[in-house]
């Protein structure tokens, strides 16, 4: 029984759609509201103890442009599963998985830093790689390669220091 079958046996959300994947890992898409419940079921009832990565893909100009992906790993069953969802709008948001896996805090912070996706319930969701106070999200498709005023914060600092 693979991860997907175990998830369906434990109770999958109605919004679940099976997705094709190139690496033969099970890949499912669920509605943004069902993500947290799905992850919780996978952790508690299906043996997926660790989260390998949390990342996002900008599928612009699609309707719900951000695809967020959680890759889970089961050491017990030697299995993995990928859960994806789509969010959009001006302030895309999804519920944080930090209370399921505390280690997801940094990955969610990076996701916020690069794509501007808000993870609700994350304590300390702030810039990770970009400087605090930066206005833009570099991995969004509309962000130019050489940046938007990359030296603005430095110049402000330079003016204010005594």
């Amino acid at each position: 029984m693979n991860g997907l079958e175990r998830l369906q046996a434990a109770g999958a959300p109605a919004s679940l759609i099976e997705q094709p994947s190139r690496d033969n890992a099970a890949c499912v898409r669920v509605a943004a509201a069902d993500v947290y419940g799905t992850l919780q079921t996978l952790r508690d009832a299906c043996g997926f103890g660790t989260v390998t990565f949390i990342t996002a893909i900008d599928r612009s100009p699609a309707e719900d442009r951000f695809e967020i992906a959680w890759q889970l790993r089961s050491v017990e069953h030697v299995d993995r599963i990928r859960v994806t969802t789509r969010v959009g709008g001006d302030a895309p948001s999804v519920r944080s998985a930090t209370d399921l896996w505390p280690g997801s805090a940094y990955m969610e912070r990076e996701c916020y830093d690069m794509f501007g996706i808000h993870f609700e319930g994350h304590v300390g969701l702030k810039r990770l790689l970009m400087p605090e106070g930066y206005d833009h999200f570099p991995l969004r498709k509309e962000f130019p390669h050489q940046g938007i005023e990359p030296d603005r914060l430095y110049r402000e600092w330079e003016r204010t220091r005594s």
Binding site: L129, M130, F143, H145, Q146, P150, Y154
Partner: protein, 205 residues
């Protein structure tokens, strides 16, 4: 540099004094005891460590005393990719170094941003600091950085500390600093490697 002049002291012991220009003496001391502040920001830092180590041994040029406090250094070696997030810290380190101070931009990243023509990388440390010598290479071999060190020594030889001191003492210290701060833009103009190399050739001839 100067000449040893025997002094008529009337003593049986051989005594003498050394006549030189003050500029030449000060410059000689400065160029042979550069204390580097190693700012290893990426892979160039590894080559910098090799340079300080026994095989390339910059102790031969008096620059082996790497100090990890900017207060004790007079040569900032920016070795690697400088990001805008790191720029504030780098400028602070430069400001904390006591005057006189020199800067080597080691590698293409710190010279021009290199292959990182990107939103996060400073396109050359001369955007935030005055640079004395630029070293190309990705990363440059330790030999290349030693060459830069020797070029910097030649540059120091031609400085005029006494004139500089006179200029500095005629204007008040900037508030809140313990150094004579140069405006970075003016410094960049005078320290460009182009003008330096022109002068360099003239000096050798």
């Amino acid at each position: 540099m100067g000449s040893l002049v025997p002094a008529d002291t009337g003593s049986s012991q051989e005594a003498g004094f050394f006549a030189s220009r003050l500029d030449a003496l000060v410059n000689w001391g400065r160029k042979n005891s550069l204390w580097p502040m190693p700012l290893g920001l990426s892979c160039c830092g590894i080559e910098l460590m090799a340079m300080i180590g026994p095989k390339f041994d910059i102790a031969r040029f008096g620059a082996e005393a790497a100090r990890f406090s900017p207060r004790q250094c007079d040569l900032l070696i920016v070795a690697g990719t400088l990001t805008w997030k790191m720029a504030e810290a780098t400028r602070t380190i430069y400001d904390q170094m006591p005057d006189p101070k020199w800067v080597i931009a080691m590698g293409v990243c710190s010279s021009s941003g290199g292959m990182y023509d990107s939103y996060s990388v400073v396109q050359g440390v001369d955007m935030i600091l005055p640079v004395d010598v630029y070293v190309p290479g990705c990363p440059p071999r330790p030999d290349a950085v030693i060459d830069a060190l020797i070029k910097l020594q030649r540059k120091i030889e031609r400085e005029s500390p006494t004139r500089r001191l006179a200029e500095m003492s005629s204007k008040p210290l900037e508030a809140g600093t313990n150094t004579f701060n140069m405006a970075p833009n003016d410094a960049i103009k005078t320290h460009r490697i182009g003008t330096f190399l022109e002068g360099d050739e003239g000096d050798d001839a």
